[in-house]
């Protein structure tokens, strides 16, 4: 009986045996503001005692392509490989998290056993604070400022500010040429809800950082408690 139980336990242990071992499953990269593509490599080793196959891999985003070194999908015990995630930066800035998932052998379709995470941090060259200025409906229409701060080795000048709505007046005020500006926004009608989108154009030498937008709203106050939370 002891032998039978031993065989049974050994079989169960084989089922639960370690698979592909990734020393790092999370990587963070700081990239230059002008970067358009970035590659992130994840090395792995088959630590189990049987060959393992990667049956499927996915990046969950069209902005990231996933490749397995040499297109090799089957790995003998002790054999190593590499997963490369190729991230297309597009017009992103700030922190972007991306996930790469791999299904190994008998993983269920909705339960990939390997989840790799990539965090790419792209500098924000033109920062707006706050992004939105808000007024309560029927409140006071005091002017509010949106501070524009440049974070680049070269000066960046604001060349124009335009409002999408005649219900908001906006004026550009230079704090320090090439470094800091204020957009002063004033709602012209505080008695009805409204939205203004302010397009801020700069002379930034990196195209994807050149145009920014900020918002102004006249809104009804939000209810204090959400009706959704369980």
């Amino acid at each position: 009986m002891k032998i039978a139980c031993g065989i049974w336990l050994a079989l169960m242990a084989m089922v639960q045996a370690a698979g592909l071992d990734f020393p790092e499953t999370f990587k963070e990269l700081h990239v230059p503001a002008s970067a358009t593509k970035v590659n992130v490599d994840f090395e792995f080793t088959n630590r189990s005692d049987k060959p393992l196959s990667i049956i499927k891999f996915d990046s969950t985003c069209s902005c990231m392509a996933v490749r397995i070194q040499d297109g090799k999908l089957r790995y003998a015990p002790g054999e190593s490989g590499l997963v490369r995630a190729e991230f297309d930066m597009g017009n992103f800035s700030g922190a972007i998290d991306k996930v790469v998932v791999l299904w190994v052998d008998k993983d269920a379709a909705d339960k990939p056993s390997i989840v790799l995470k990539v965090r790419v941090i792209i500098p924000v060259l033109v920062a707006l604070e706050p992004k939105t200025v808000k007024w309560d409906l029927n409140g006071t229409a005091e002017p509010q400022a949106i501070r524009i701060t440049m974070h680049h080795e070269k000066p960046i000048r604001v060349t124009s500010v335009q409002s999408s709505s005649a219900a908001f007046k906006c004026e550009l005020k230079t704090i320090k040429e090439g470094a800091s500006y204020d957009v002063i926004v004033t709602p012209l009608d505080i008695k009805k809800p409204g939205l203004g989108i302010f397009r801020i154009e700069t002379d930034c030498d990196i195209a994807k950082h050149r145009i920014q937008q900020a918002f102004g709203t006249v809104r009804r106050p939000m209810p204090a408690n959400s009706e959704f939370k369980p």
């Binding site: 009986m1 985003c61 017009n91 998290d97 939105t132 009706e227």
Partner: protein, 149 residues
Amino acid sequence: MNSWGQLAVIAAVSLLAAGGTFWIKGPPNRLFRCDPASLKQDEVCLESIPAGADVLWVDARSRRDWEKSGVPGSLLWNLDPAEDMQAFEAAAAVRVVATPRIIVYCGDENCGVSRQIAGRIRGLDLGAEVFVLRGGWRALREAGRVKGF
């Protein structure tokens, strides 16, 4: 009885028990189940959203998937580099003024894009309440709340 015979008996008993369970209780339920106790602070279960609630749904999947099987009336906002992020911001801002409660969903629990989109919507600082749907599109599909299903 030798060891192999005993093993065969154990295996047979296990199989019988498994078969009996399947016969009595049916196949395993593979539908997505949202456990409110395991929700993160910004997550919400589909079951807790009243039917007809005044909600702006934001689809964080690809444009193709959104067009084919998004929630009717939803807004698209993903992290596809081919898309115009500022156009997404502007479209969201316009809708948020009228509907300041937002729920973001992506393909499934592995996607992770919905939480980033929720963060970007909060970053607009429009004063909206922004949640992430636990279970994503899969939960919506199983509840029959998307186009084409």
